[in-house]
Amino acid sequence: MTARVDRWPGVELGPKDIEGRVVTSVRYRPAAKFAWSAGEAMSRFLAELQRGRLIARQCNTCRRILFPPRMFCEECYRPTDAWVYVRDTGTIETYSVSYLDTDARRITEPIFVGVVSIDGASPRMGIMHYFGEVTKEEIRIGMPVQAKWRPAEDRVGSVLDIEYFRPVREGGR
């Protein structure tokens, strides 16, 4: 590259150099345990999920219905004003069909995952979730979907109280 550089430093290792302990190394696995406080907005959101409902917050200044709910509007930078229930239907904004699990391991049955904007909230406000009862040929951006809830007795106050979103079939929303 430059005439003055005659050596680009770095000693490359292969996986065996480390796994086979060809070079010295130490191993460490931290034990980091947390209890994240859900705070005002998320505590209510989780409680409503357990009841089978989705809830948002309204900002009276910009008139947006914010979902997921938060106690402040990041645009107007002031507290939000009221709780508003939104529907459990929405639209696929984007999606992926993943052959990778969370640790980047290969899987044969793909995971359908994407962003759903929720009806009743302001445009494009949504959450990430799974999709089900749909094939990779059928799924598309703009597809109307509805939450498939877990049975009431199995809900714990988690985004996983919704098993997945599935296409709205005949009859519409």
Binding site: G10, L13, V23, F34, L66, E93, T102
Partner: protein
């Protein structure tokens, strides 16, 4: 800069030293000439050392000096140079040393596993997200809304991996790679295939930033390139509420940098670009954000060869992250570094055949929300 590889033996401190020492040698300076040190490095969780900035500082020449660590996710690759620029432009330092390092191989079995912890613990993490997912989702929305064929995106990977063949530090250079190779590579998370993605890497890079006074006094004019404008911007972390089609935060960062650099028409006034390309679609996304392509048209530019090294607007002549590697913050060496080498005519095999006077580089990061932009000129 050091070579970029999946695994390097050096510790993070040693990598930092190697890069910083090279930069000093090239500038004809010693550590005593440095008034302040800025260290850029990504989350502590990759190297597996908390207070990583403090841990690394003896290796980056920061001991007993004004020193700061900056971190803006993948945006750090360009942002640390902006932080270095503040020191010199403000007059607080005559000479600042900027050192960026990443040692992602410490994280086992794959750095992917700690990416899980950048997500919201209540809203996102219960779904066990994989980092590739968000890029797959953004790429899908970008290509579907703009009706861009996948092959126009895959062409970016081909171009950059070929360009990297001229880079002495490259990890994934391939002068013979074809469009079919990319389009038929393993499907990871549709629409993303394996060769659409840059690899995790170890590496370090460094630059010396000096005031005009110092450049004049030390007779460094012949080997200097100038920072003409800087800009940075971040969008909300509530990424599921944002339109992912256009990177507004990059556009705002670019506008800030162009205003300072007095660039009114970037497509005409900028000779080449080094946008952030951890995924092939990101190069296109960012060219649009930088105002170098019309919205939805960067793919067409790529297909028509405009962004090749000998094209009208060479893009990622270094080989980019896709070809040279992606040691997050250390991509400083292929963004700021490439602008410097191209503008001073030192890029060797990678030198753009047309004369270049003005270049722009950009990095991107956090949860698809951060843009940092630097305009440099002769």
């Amino acid at each position: 800069m050091t070579i970029f590889r999946r695994r390097l033996q050096e510790t993070g401190k040693e990598l930092s030293f190697e890069a910083a020492r090279m930069a000093l040698d090239q500038a004809g300076m010693e550590i005593g000439d440095i008034n302040a040190v800025v260290h850029g490095t990504a989350p502590d969780a990759f190297d597996g050392v908390h207070m990583k900035g403090e841990y690394l500082l003896d290796g980056s020449g920061g001991a007993r000096k004004p020193y700061m660590r900056v971190y803006t996710g993948g945006g750090t690759g360009v942002f640390s140079a902006i932080a270095g620029y503040w020191h010199v432009a403000s007059g607080l330092a005559d000479v600042a040393l900027v050192v960026n390092e990443e040692k992602m191989s410490s994280c086992q079995p794959h750095p992917q596993s700690v990416f899980a912890h950048i997500w919201d613990p209540i809203l996102d993490r219960p779904l066990k997200p994989n980092l590739v997912w968000i890029f797959a989702m953004e790429m899908n929305r970008y290509m579907t809304v703009n009706k861009i064929p996948y092959e126009d995106i895959a062409r970016v990977a081909v171009k950059n991996k070929r360009n990297a063949a001229g880079h002495p530090c490259a990890q994934l250079a391939d002068p013979d790679i074809t469009l079919d190779d990319v389009m038929n590579s393993e499907l990871m998370a549709w629409p993303v295939r394996r060769l659409d993605i840059s690899p995790p890497s170890d590496g370090a890079a460094a630059v010396v930033l000096a005031s005009e006074d110092i450049v004049r006094k030390r007779k460094l004019r012949d080997q200097a390139a100038w920072i003409k404008g800087v800009g940075w911007c971040i969008d909300s972390t509530m990424w599921t509420d944002r339109d992912l089609v256009f990177p507004e935060y990059v556009a705002r960062a670019a506008k800030m940098a162009y205003r300072q650099a007095k660039i009114g028409n970037p497509r005409r006034e900028i000779d080449f670009a080094e946008p952030y390309d951890p995924f092939d679609y990101k190069e296109l996304h960012h060219l649009e954000g930088l105002g170098l392509a019309e919205r939805g048209k960067a793919g067409l530019m790529t297909r028509e060869g405009v962004t090749e090294r000998d094209g009208d607007l060479p893009v990622c002549p270094s080989g980019g992250l896709l070809g040279v590697g992606n040691p997050i913050a250390a991509t400083l060496g292929i963004k700021i570094g490439e602008l410097y080498w191209q503008l001073t005519g030192q890029a060797g095999k990678r030198q753009i055949p047309n004369e270049v006077r003005t270049g722009v580089c950009q990095a991107w990061g956090d949860l698809m929300q951060y843009g940092s932009v630097v305009v440099m000129g002769t």
